[in-house]
């Protein structure tokens, strides 16, 4: 059946005279190529050695990345060539396969740097969590767009969340908590489709209490809550009839949660996690000790911040980054690629990248909203959610405003599976979008 569809779609493409290429959203494609190009130039700068400056050196990392960029173009052509309803129809199957492949890591996976996240395919290592992102986005869109699904129903909400929870749970023990976190971003799709926004409120409250507890302690949190409540009651009681019992129990729940945060932080978290938080939230009061933590545990962030800072407005120039050349920032070609941009291209470079990403996301949201087919819209939202969470966490970490969580910057970080599957993720949506005006699916 699969063969049949491939053959049919290839025939369709040749018959309709590249109609897909005419309808594709070229603005998104332009953003995509801009990011890939900037990404590759900076990978080249981070990894090139004076002894071997050749671009087409497939032993060097930048050479490998160039190879995957080529592979991505082939993948794009393939994605665009396939018949449009192929993705929707087989999305459940993809999801199932992806989960099996994730499970298969435990017996067959290859361990690199302590994480069993890869299959060794000989010429390259495949990271199936990247594939799972595409499959989950498709599956979620498929489930939500089903006529029988009603997102107002608790049961359907639970199923929807389960779809993104399963891959996350499979990935956490690799261990790769960063990649697992990405799947939670798909909650934005469910919100778009009608998940009540107070879920978001609760989520926000949980994060707020977590941070406030670490920063100020349970005692201060309780005191300020009590104060706030008292004032609230004094002012508002006459106007509203506030149900006292649920309100009080909510307060108690908050205090209990705050206590449990303390417990989890001190007893369940490992020291390295604690250090990351104490660095992020500046929990250490002594500036000397804080500086010490910055230079040891926070070494990566410290160096990447300094590298970015040293770039100034216009940067030191391509291949001129001294800290990049001196390898001061670890993992600079992969997770910390943004710091190379910061050092060598300065604020002009970093703001160009941030703006390109922002415009790409806004463009994709706009495209998603104009879809007639709900599946396309939901998938579009899934694509933006996944790309956006990567951008948020990665850049936030590199510029030192979020704790260290190791996930790549889409289209730019070194990594074959990453580039390939981010490309596929994006271009499936562009394929769907190119077809939006056609009546027949």
């Amino acid at each position: 059946m699969l063969n049949h569809i491939v053959a049919k779609s290839l025939r369709l493409m040749s018959m309709s005279g590249n109609s897909v290429l005419k309808r594709i959203d070229w603005l998104s494609v332009l953003f995509y190529f801009t990011l890939v190009l900037i990404g590759w130039l900076n990978i080249y700068s981070s990894t090139v050695t004076e002894a071997e400056p050749q671009i087409f050196n497939f032993n060097a990392l930048h050479g490998k990345q160039l190879f995957f960029a080529g592979a991505s173009i082939i993948a794009i052509m393939l994605v665009l060539a396939l018949e449009v309803n192929f993705y929707e129809r087989f999305s459940s199957l993809f999801y199932l396969i992806a989960m099996v492949i994730l499970l298969g890591l435990y017996p067959f996976g290859k361990t690199i740097a302590g994480a069993t996240s890869w299959y060794d395919l000989g010429f390259f290592n495949l990271q199936p969590s990247e594939l799972a992102k595409v499959a989950t986005a498709l599956a979620l869109a498929k489930y939500l767009s089903d006529i029988q699904t009603d997102i107002k129903r608790r049961k359907d909400q639970l199923y929807a969340i389960l779809i993104l929870l399963i891959p996350a749970i499979l990935i956490i023990p690799q261990p790769d908590p960063g990649s697992a976190l990405v799947f939670f971003a798909l909650i934005f799709v469910i919100f778009r489709e009608g998940l009540p926004l107070y879920y978001l409120g609760i989520l926000f409250l949980v994060i707020l209490i977590f941070v406030a507890t670490l920063k100020f302690g349970t005692l201060w949190l309780t005191i300020s809550l009590a104060l706030f409540t008292t004032i609230f009651f004094l002012i508002k009681r006459k106007k509203f009839k506030v149900p006292i019992i649920p309100f009080a129990s909510a307060l108690v729940a908050i205090v209990l949660f705050s206590l449990s945060v303390n417990f989890v932080f001190n007893n369940v978290f490992e020291q390295r996690h604690r250090d990351r938080f104490s660095l992020w939230l500046r929990l250490e009061k002594d500036p000397k000790k804080l500086e010490q933590i910055r230079k040891t545990i926070g070494y990566n962030t410290y160096q990447s911040e300094k590298a970015i800072e040293s770039g100034g407005l216009i940067g030191k120039g391509f291949l001129e980054g001294t800290r990049t050349k001196g390898d001061f920032v670890p993992e600079q070609h992969s997770d910390y690629i943004f710091s190379t941009i910061g050092e060598e291209w300065g604020f002009l470079g970093t703001s160009l990248v941030v703006l390109t990403f922002t415009f790409l996301f806004l463009r994709l949201i706009h495209l998603a909203e104009r879809q007639k087919n709900p599946f396309s819209r939901m998938y579009g939202y899934g694509v933006v959610s996944i790309l956006f969470i990567h951008f948020l966490i990665n850049v936030g970490m590199v510029i030192g405003i979020l704790p260290t969580i190791g996930i790549p910057l889409p289209f730019m970080s070194y990594g074959g599976s990453g580039l390939l599957f981010f490309t596929i993720l994006l271009f499936i949506f562009l394929r769907l979008d190119a077809n939006r005006l056609k009546e027949s699916f």
Partner: protein, 622 residues
């Protein structure tokens, strides 16, 4: 709402990131990149400091190599401290202390561990240094003095301090800079420019090649040789004559303003302020607050000029047409100010310009001074004219010579007296002492010499200067090569110079005659006071002499100021005549006088105010 959730979040995060990035890259960005970059090591290559020669090409200051042991604390690996210390000739405690100090200064930048090793120590250390990671030897050069005089003129160099570092970005810790004298004045010429080499390092602190392929590196620029206007022989001779005396001697070449010698007594051997013993010796010199050897009296001591000042008053009176060459004033063995009589030692009788000068008659100049003021309706006007003339001789303000320090001296103005006595509540009688160089006027020896040069040139002078050539090329700075004209017409100088020549032929300085050389000079005896236990006490007069020679084609103008040397010809006159003879003839024929001047000291005189006992002043005993 649900449609806008993700878009607004995207925009919010985009703005947050741009804000953070602009904070990092625009507001926190420090332009001093290379110095702060841990990925770049900076290596300096120091050029040799320029040599200093005298006007005849004789070496004054050269260089000796010296070696500093430097340390970069971050790179220090555990080492055999005892062995290393014995190699360095250093106590272990001191070593640990120095190392800690260096770490506090900066773990990443080099600090000096041991200053200025001897050549022998360097030889022993050199081959073993590579064993000790984080330590290395930096070659520098130390000043070597081919003379034991001229310390005040040459100045000295010492390590830059925090203030220098903050003021001038060129310097880094451990470098040397000129502190006083020529070393300070011509620091940048003598110093040259150090070469810089930038090395790219990786995070393990290994060198991985030149930064930017060495395109920013510079090669050192050699320090330039300079020649001073100083005559080494004359300078050394003058300093010998000043042994045991306090005061200053400045000798100029009137036709160019070149400073032939500039002597301050007491002085010290410039070699004392070189190398490891510099700071101990300097403290010792600095703490001698009575003799004050580090205080350059030739340019800093502001004293009443005494009688040499009379020559200028005569010139002003002639210029203002209030006297003529033969106008006479009677001296009654003194003169009257109101009802009080001021004394005069000239012997009394009728005086004119000529005899007024050569007999140094106080009464004649008091009268002349009054005549200047009587010409004008108000004293204020007279004062302005008098001040203008005086200042045209380079008095009462900085001369503008090329040494880093100086004093203005003082030519009082009407504002000065208005402040003192009140508006219009003073007249020429109040300030009559200025006529004979006492009162409120003050001048430094270099100003007196310059004034003498202006008389020798009959009306103009060249700003005194110490620099003659840079790399053999004569200076062309118009500040020093163009004459400054006084406000006195040329014709008025002849009678005054005649008087000065007669000072020497038959006047107050007839004891100091030099065979075959015609001198024009003027003696001075300046009253002075100090405070002893809060009581104003008069001390023995200062001995002053200004002169130039030969009268018709002056080669040298000189001012000698000997503190508490009593009357003018007693010390200053003799010393001046010896200096002139030495300079013009090359050797001194009057060996007796020379011997006497070399041996005589005034230590007894200088001890008086500190003896705590009653003492007599102006004694005739030698």
């Amino acid at each position: 709402m649900k449609r806008l959730l993700l878009s607004s979040l995207v925009i919010l995060i985009g703005i947050t990131f741009l804000g953070r990035l602009s904070y990092l890259q625009i507001f926190s960005f420090s332009p001093d990149q290379i110095a702060e970059d841990p990925a770049i090591k900076t290596i300096y290559d120091y050029p040799e400091r320029g040599y200093i020669y005298d006007r005849n090409g004789k070496l004054l200051v050269g260089n000796d190599p010296a070696y500093d042991v430097m340390v970069i604390p971050r790179e220090v690996k555990p080492l055999d401290t005892l062995e290393f210390c014995s190699l360095l000739n250093l106590e272990k405690e001191k070593f640990i202390k120095q190392l800690r100090k260096a770490r506090i200064y900066s773990p990443r930048l080099p600090s000096v561990l041991v200053h200025q090793l001897s050549k022998e120590d360097y030889g022993r250390l050199q081959e073993k240094m590579r064993k000790y990671k984080g330590f290395y030897i930096q070659k520098r050069s130390l000043r070597y003095y081919d003379t034991n005089s001229g310390a005040n003129v040459l100045g000295y160099i010492s390590e830059v301090n925090e203030r220098d570092l903050a003021k001038n970005k060129y310097y880094v810790q451990g470098e040397l800079t000129g502190r006083t004298g020529v070393e300070k004045q011509y620091e940048e010429i003598l110093r040259g420019r150090k070469g810089v080499q930038y090395i790219q390092k990786d995070r393990f602190n290994r060198d991985i090649g030149p930064y930017k392929s060495g395109s920013l590196d510079t090669i050192p620029e050699q320090g330039k040789q300079i020649s001073l206007t100083i005559d080494k022989v004359l300078q050394e001779y003058g300093e010998q004559l000043m042994i045991g005396k306090r005061g200053g001697i400045v000798a100029l070449e009137p036709s160019s303003g070149e400073i032939l010698s500039m002597i301050s007594g007491p002085t010290y051997d410039p070699a004392l302020l070189v190398g490891r013993k510099r700071s101990r010796n300097y403290t010792k010199l600095y703490n001698d607050t009575i003799a004050n050897p580090t205080w350059d009296r030739s340019i800093l001591a502001q004293q009443p000029p005494g009688s040499p000042f009379k020559t200028l008053n005569a010139l002003i009176a002639l210029q203002e047409d209030v006297i003529e060459e033969n106008t006479t004033i009677r001296c009654y063995n003194g003169f009257y100010v109101g009802r009080s009589k001021k004394g005069c030692h000239c012997g009394g009788g009728l005086r004119n310009v000529n005899s007024g000068i050569y007999k140094s008659c106080n009464a004649y100049f008091a009268g002349t001074f009054r005549k200047i003021y009587e010409k004008f309706e108000t004293t204020d006007e007279g004062m302005d004219v008098w001040e203008k003339h005086m200042k045209s001789f380079g008095l009462g303000n900085y001369l503008g010579y090329d040494l880093p320090y100086g004093q203005k001296g003082r030519i009082p103005s009407k504002e000065y007296y208005d402040k003192w006595y009140g508006d219009n509540r003073w007249s020429s009688s109040y300030i009559i002492s200025n006529s004979i160089g006492q009162g409120e006027v003050l001048a430094t020896p270099v100003q007196l010499a310059n004034m003498t040069a202006a008389i020798a040139n009959r009306g103009h002078y060249f700003t005194p200067h110490i620099l003659k050539k840079i790399e053999g090329e004569a200076i062309s700075n118009p500040r020093f090569t163009e004459p400054k004209h006084t406000t006195i017409d040329r014709k008025h100088f002849e009678p005054v110079i005649q008087g000065m020549a007669d000072v020497y032929r038959k006047g107050t300085a007839r004891w100091v005659q030099i065979p075959d050389i015609e001198i024009a000079g003027k003696t001075g005896t300046a009253e002075n006071f100090t405070k002893i236990d809060g009581v104003r006490t008069q001390l023995t007069d200062h001995s002053v002499f200004v002169a130039f020679a030969p009268v018709n084609k002056p080669k040298i103008a000189i001012a000698v100021y000997i503190e508490n040397g009593y009357y003018g010809s007693r010390y200053a006159g003799h010393i001046a005549s010896l200096m002139i003879e030495k300079y013009i003839k090359g050797n001194v024929t009057r060996k007796d006088l020379e011997k006497r001047m070399l041996e005589k000291t005034l230590e007894r005189e200088y001890a008086k105010p500190y003896s705590g006992e009653e003492f007599k002043i102006n004694e005739y005993v030698w």
